[in-house]
């Protein structure tokens, strides 16, 4: 065997018990924890260090005008999208590609609902009310944290859409490989949901 054929891409390694893509995805998620962790750390440091009064003081809840109803709605939207994502993987394990594609489509749809709600009901009204990132550190962090999170959602949408359409041809060639890739995409998607689970109370409620 002189040809570059890479083992353990589809079948798990007999000793480590995992296929390479899954291990790689978890490692990538570890780095993402550190990325969002740094921003949360910045949040804590800036909030604790904020002056007691004046333009740089930390705003009260009413002053932020962040609606827990919108935030709560979006939280539920993302949680449901996590369910549809894992159901897509489960459908593939049960050999049902069309059901899986439906679930993937639902996931994308819910993600787009999340983005639209954010954009139309939150970002744009805030800009119109001059609650821009430069207004105060609260809004600076709000836009940076949720903006970076939204970029991650868009990245996920892009990948999932790829797997619904051109990527699904992999199912015919190697269904197990396709299932694995959906599993890894799911891991990423659940992580994005997880970040929001922390963002929602920190930004909207505390």
């Amino acid at each position: 065997m002189s040809v570059a054929v890479l083992p353990y891409t589809v079948k798990p390694h007999p000793v480590t018990g995992v296929y390479s893509g899954k291990l790689g995805t978890w490692l990538f998620l570890a780095s993402e924890v550190m990325l969002f962790g740094a921003l949360f750390s910045a949040y804590v440091l800036l909030r604790v260090g904020a002056p007691a009064s004046g333009p740089a003081a930390w705003p009260s809840h009413d002053a932020t005008e962040l609606s827990w109803k919108i935030g709560g709605f979006n939280t539920l939207v993302l949680i449901i999208s996590s369910v549809t994502m894992v159901m897509a993987w489960a459908s593939l394990k049960l050999n049902n590609l069309s059901k899986a594609r439906m679930y993937l489509g639902l996931t994308v749809g819910l993600a787009l609902v999340f983005i639209m709600v954010k954009l139309l009901l939150e970002y744009i009204p805030k800009f119109q009310a001059h609650h821009t990132p430069s207004h105060s550190n609260f809004f600076g962090l709000y836009f940076t944290l949720t903006g970076l999170h939204a970029l991650h959602i868009l990245g996920g949408v892009f990948v999932i859409t790829y797997f619904i359409f051109p990527g699904s041809s992999l199912w015919k060639k190697d269904p197990e490989y396709y299932t694995n890739r959906i599993e890894c995409t799911g891991l990423y998607w659940h992580f994005v949901d997880l970040v929001w689970i922390f963002l929602f109370p920190v930004l909207y409620l505390l």
Binding site: P12, T16, G17, V18, Y19, K22, L23, W26, L27, A30, V33, M34, G37, A38, F40, S41, V44, L45, V48, G49, A50, P51, A52, A56, W68, G72, T75, L76, I79, I80, S82, V83, M85, V86, M87, A90, K93, L94, N180, E183, G186, L187, H190, F191, D193, L194, I197, F198, F200, P201, V202, L205, L206
Partner: protein, 116 residues
């Protein structure tokens, strides 16, 4: 591949169950935030609930409950340790700054003889 050959319908039941739990806990999070605890109580409660929700997502949706591969658990453990350092140490450092710097008042000149 992490328990995939177990009954998928059992998994699906778990997914639905976790969804219900997460929805309920979201409502609880909002409700509890209306109650005012002393000191850092609100923060602690909110983070505990969020952490519990996160562990449900990780265990069931991300299949960690059925994950036997040691390398993944090692990766998570190492990440958790360094995450703790990342979060806590800068915060501890803030507490040691003199009062002006603590509250962003860099241009305030301290009074001679003022206590720290």
């Amino acid at each position: 591949m992490g328990g995939a050959h177990a009954d998928i319908s059992k998994h699906v039941k778990a997914y639905i169950g976790v969804f219900v739990a997460l929805a309920v806990l979201t409502v609880v999070t909002v409700a509890v935030s209306r109650v005012h605890f002393s000191g850092a109580g609100n923060i602690v409660v909110a983070l505990v609930i969020a952490a519990f929700k996160a562990s449900l997502v990780a265990a069931i949706f991300m299949h960690l409950k059925w994950e036997k591969a040691p390398s993944i658990w090692w990766a998570l453990a190492i990440c958790a340790i360094f995450f703790v350092f990342l979060i806590f140490i800068p915060v501890l450092a803030v507490g040691e700054l003199p009062p002006q710097a603590q509250h962003g008042m860099w241009d305030v000149v301290p009074q001679v003889g003022a206590a720290h």
